[in-house]
């Protein structure tokens, strides 16, 4: 028996030694490989694999970041968030309803086709096709009357009504131009990179497009976008040198990355967390009760609990810091004031509080953590909150149908202009989980319409001041926190910029400027 035991143990030892040797060999091989990984390839870690690369559908930030490598529109954004010419070199307003864009000379798509006014017109026609999944289909349909070609290099948009935001729509990464020989299902673009290989669900490999209009770019010849859904693994992969840049840096990792001499971070306050309400039924049909909630939330606690202190309280509407439309006085309208909150509760007919349900999601920590702090905050004024935390898909469905009392949401505007708040406040738009259900103030809707149609900045400021005043009274969008949004990268890398404010998600546009040395 002893001999057998020894034999079995020896076998086990051999197994261990063999496995150890194999591991050591493989490890050495990888270590060599990692250090030899050339500087000619940039590896970007996406937070998820894009559900689709259809050119005009909005399928999230990861998809947008990947799309803008091979697809570009007529306009886009520069590193400081300024609108810049992309496939069009210039743009001008020839009257309130006419915009003329001059196309760059010699722009070609990846298949060699030239960018012509006809190609532009075809892209817009496809976007507005009734079977199109373009997120701007409705917006363009409501705005564009016709597209003309005054000469071989110009495109003129005749609009049905004046629009100060039309240029932002043209700069959206959901409005790229595609080759006249391609279609929505298999688009061919004119971006700095072309797709050379796709491992669905895992990675997309790009090679530099030699015919890119911006000569000398992209600075790195090869780009790999690899999906790392686990935020901790994204950070570990960056630290281990597997990837060069990561998006959606988790807030709990900021400190360790800041301490790491090999890594750098680019942080902006961009997206924000807020509360929306069911204004059609339940307790929050009463504006006083919504206001009471707005004054009772301990926003600094949300910033600490959900974002590890990386963000700031949002005491008003989401006018980004630095925006010329932001008024610091009204931006701090809802400072925590429990006495005022109790007074508003009494005025709303609920002096001793009430019970209600808060819709959030357990799928994203920041949504859940925000909901928990809101729950605790409101307990202080007698509002008993029950948390409803389904998965994200259910949260969207329930939100779109208005099956909630109030909800936690996180979002960002589509562009750095007050009109981007219309999606959260304009009740004339289609009901949506991002906006308070049943909220519809015709005056607010009208002011958004006026602001959109007005091209004079001073007059627009006055319009949005009035809109802000009404929206704060209505408290149908209650700001909670600005959250910081960071990209982290390895130190020798340069040229990447985190775009300011709401445009943070568009930062993938600057990957063309990144050099590895």
């Amino acid at each position: 028996m002893t001999n057998d035991t020894r034999n079995a143990a020896a076998l086990s030892r051999r197994g261990f030694i063999g496995a150890g040797a194999a591991a050591a060999f493989a490890a050495t091989s990888v270590a060599e490989r990692a250090s030899a990984q050339g500087r000619d390839r940039l590896v970007f870690a996406l937070s998820s694999y894009p559900p689709s690369l259809r050119p005009w559908a909005n399928t999230g930030t990861a998809a947008g970041t990947a799309k803008c490598q091979f697809l570009r529109g007529l306009l886009s954004y520069g590193p400081k968030g300024e609108i810049r010419g992309e496939l069009a070199e210039s743009w001008r307003s020839d009257g309130p309803t006419t915009w003329t864009l001059r196309l760059r000379e010699g722009v070609r798509f990846h298949d060699g086709e030239a960018l012509t006014p006809d190609a532009v017109r075809r892209s817009f026609e496809l976007m507005q096709d009734e079977k199109s999944t373009a997120s701007l289909r409705g917006a363009f349909g409501a705005l564009i009357d016709r597209i003309e070609a005054p000469d071989a290099r110009s495109v003129r948009f005749q609009l049905k009504k004046p629009s100060a935001t039309f240029v932002y729509m043209l700069a959206s990464w959901h409005a790229p131009m595609i080759s006249p020989k391609s279609n929505e299902a298999n688009p061919v673009g004119a971006g700095p990179y072309r797709i050379v290989d796709v491992e669905r669900g895992t990675r997309i490999d790009f090679d530099a497009f030699d015919g890119y209009w911006n000569k000398g770019l992209p600075k790195t010849r090869k780009l790999r976008m690899a999906a790392y859904a686990d935020e901790n693994l994204r950070v570990a992969a960056l630290d281990a040198g597997d990837v060069d840049i990561i998006e959606y840096v988790p807030w709990q990792s900021y400190e360790s990355i800041e301490r790491n001499a090999k890594l750098a971070m680019d942080i902006v306050d961009g997206p924000f967390m807020y509360l929306n309400f069911n204004c059609a039924q339940g307790p929050f049909t009463n504006a006083k009760l919504r206001q009471a909630v707005a004054y009772a939330i301990r926003r600094e606690d949300v910033v600490k609990a959900a974002f590890f202190g990386r963000g700031s309280a949002m005491n008003g509407l989401p006018f980004p810091k630095g925006s010329e439309f932001r008024d610091e006085a009204t931006a701090n309208h809802w400072r925590t004031d429990l006495d005022l909150a109790r007074k508003l509760l009494a005025e709303g007919g609920q002096p001793s509080g009430f019970s209600c349900k808060l819709l959030s999601t357990a799928q994203y920590g920041m949504h859940k953590d925000t909901a928990e702090v809101v729950q605790q905050s409101l307990a202080a004024i007698g509002i008993r909150v029950e948390l409803v935390l389904p998965d994200w898909a259910t949260r969207v469905a329930v939100g779109n149908r208005g099956q909630y009392d109030f909800g936690v949401m996180g979002s960002a505007g589509d562009f750095n202009d007050p009109d981007s708040m219309a999606q959260f406040l304009d009740g004339s738009q289609t009901p949506n989980y991002t906006r308070s259900h049943g909220y519809n103030n015709p005056k607010v809707n009208e002011l958004f319409e006026q602001g959109r149609a007005e091209l004079d900045v001073a007059k627009r400021k006055a319009i949005y001041r009035e809109m802000e005043k009404l929206a704060l009274e209505d408290a149908a969008l209650v700001g909670v926190a600005w959250r910081s949004q960071a990209y982290a990268m390895r130190k020798p890398l340069s040229g990447f910029a985190n775009l300011p404010g709401f445009l943070s998600f568009y930062s993938g546009l600057t990957l063309e400027n990144v050099s590895m040395g």
Partner: protein, 316 residues
């Protein structure tokens, strides 16, 4: 033969039941795939656009018609296409399933290589210090959640020692060495827990066999101890161990979610989670059915193996 045919008929009935259940459950839970797809990024989807997409995806047809179409597709072994990008579900499963099976096989080989010899040693030295130590280590390993083990392995071997990548996947054909090193940590993570199961089962089974009369008889007639253990004890002890390993492997087919997530291994489990999140009906249906079919198949294989290892089953 009749036994095999009966088992096959039961298996097909089981797969049909699972197909019907998953079809119904998916349509009962909240969350509309078209609405979800068009709501990405917080935009307000146009109801007309949602309706058009639902029609295009066949979600507007009456439930019975959808069911008939689904079963018809199944009979043609067609699992449909993804709702998000029209990619054939069968193709994606064909790519991902081998990765998950490879991960499970690698983990199982490691687990058997570690757990089985140690289980035999512990049983043969029952009550000794080594037995107690091994049992204590097994208890500790079993209590470790895979995401903790995985994260610790990443911290030590990827971030500190930099021996292996933190995660990810490279096809074997593209770079065999990189492929294997990527496989190593997720396989070890699963193997740590699985080896505990193999260890315990082997130990218990060997202990039970050691007490049998015929083992005593074998010893009494003067057979060498090594011979008794190998030919009589081990052979008679492995039946339950193989059964448990087979069942564990079946469970792992849909149960490697956390490991695949932690190590970014693009297998079937991760695909299933993403499909559920997106309410991608054809993908969820396809993956669940394939896992179900494999589970049924594995059970059949285990039964046959059991019969090979234990002649009484063959003749019984």
């Amino acid at each position: 033969m009749a036994y095999v045919l009966r088992r096959l008929a039961i298996s097909i009935g089981l797969i049909w039941t699972v197909a019907t259940l998953i079809f119904l459950v998916l349509r009962m839970i909240p969350g509309d795939p078209a609405e979800l797809l068009l709501s990405s990024g917080g935009v307000a989807p146009d109801p007309a656009q949602v309706l058009e997409l639902r029609e295009r995806l066949g979600l507007e047809a009456p439930l019975l018609q959808q069911y008939a179409s689904f079963i018809g597709q199944l009979l043609r072994l067609d699992l449909g296409t993804s709702l998000t990008d029209d990619y054939p579900v069968m193709d994606e499963i064909a790519k991902r399933l081998p990765r998950t099976i490879e991960l499970i096989l690698a983990a199982t080989i490691l687990a058997v290589a570690i757990g089985m010899p140690l289980g035999v040693v512990a049983a043969l030295r029952r009550g000794s210090g080594m037995d107690r130590t091994l049992s204590a280590v097994a208890s500790f390993n079993q209590s470790l959640p895979v995401f903790v083990t995985g994260t610790l392995l990443i911290l030590v071997f990827a971030q500190q020692l930099r021996w292996v990548p933190a995660g990810g996947y490279v096809a074997f054909a593209q770079d065999p060495a990189r492929h294997l090193t990527n496989l190593l940590m997720p396989a070890v993570t699963i193997a740590i827990g699985l080896s505990t199961v193999v260890f315990r089962m082997t130990r218990a089974s060997v202990l039970e066999t050691l007490d049998r009369d015929w083992v005593r008889t074998a010893r009494a007639k003067g057979l060498a101890s090594r011979h008794v253990v190998r030919r009589h004890v081990l052979r008679n002890s492995l039946g339950p161990v193989v059964t448990v390993i087979g069942l564990q492997m079946g469970t792992l087919l849909g149960g490697t979610v956390l490991v695949e997530y932690v190590f970014n291994w693009p297998g079937l489990s991760g695909y299933l989670v993403r499909a559920v999140e997106q309410r991608n009906y054809p993908e969820v249906q396809g993956i669940v059915l394939v896992i179900c079919a494999l589970f049924v198949f594995l059970n059949l294989v285990v039964d046959l193996l059991y019969a090979v290892l234990d002649p009484r089953v063959r003749h019984g």
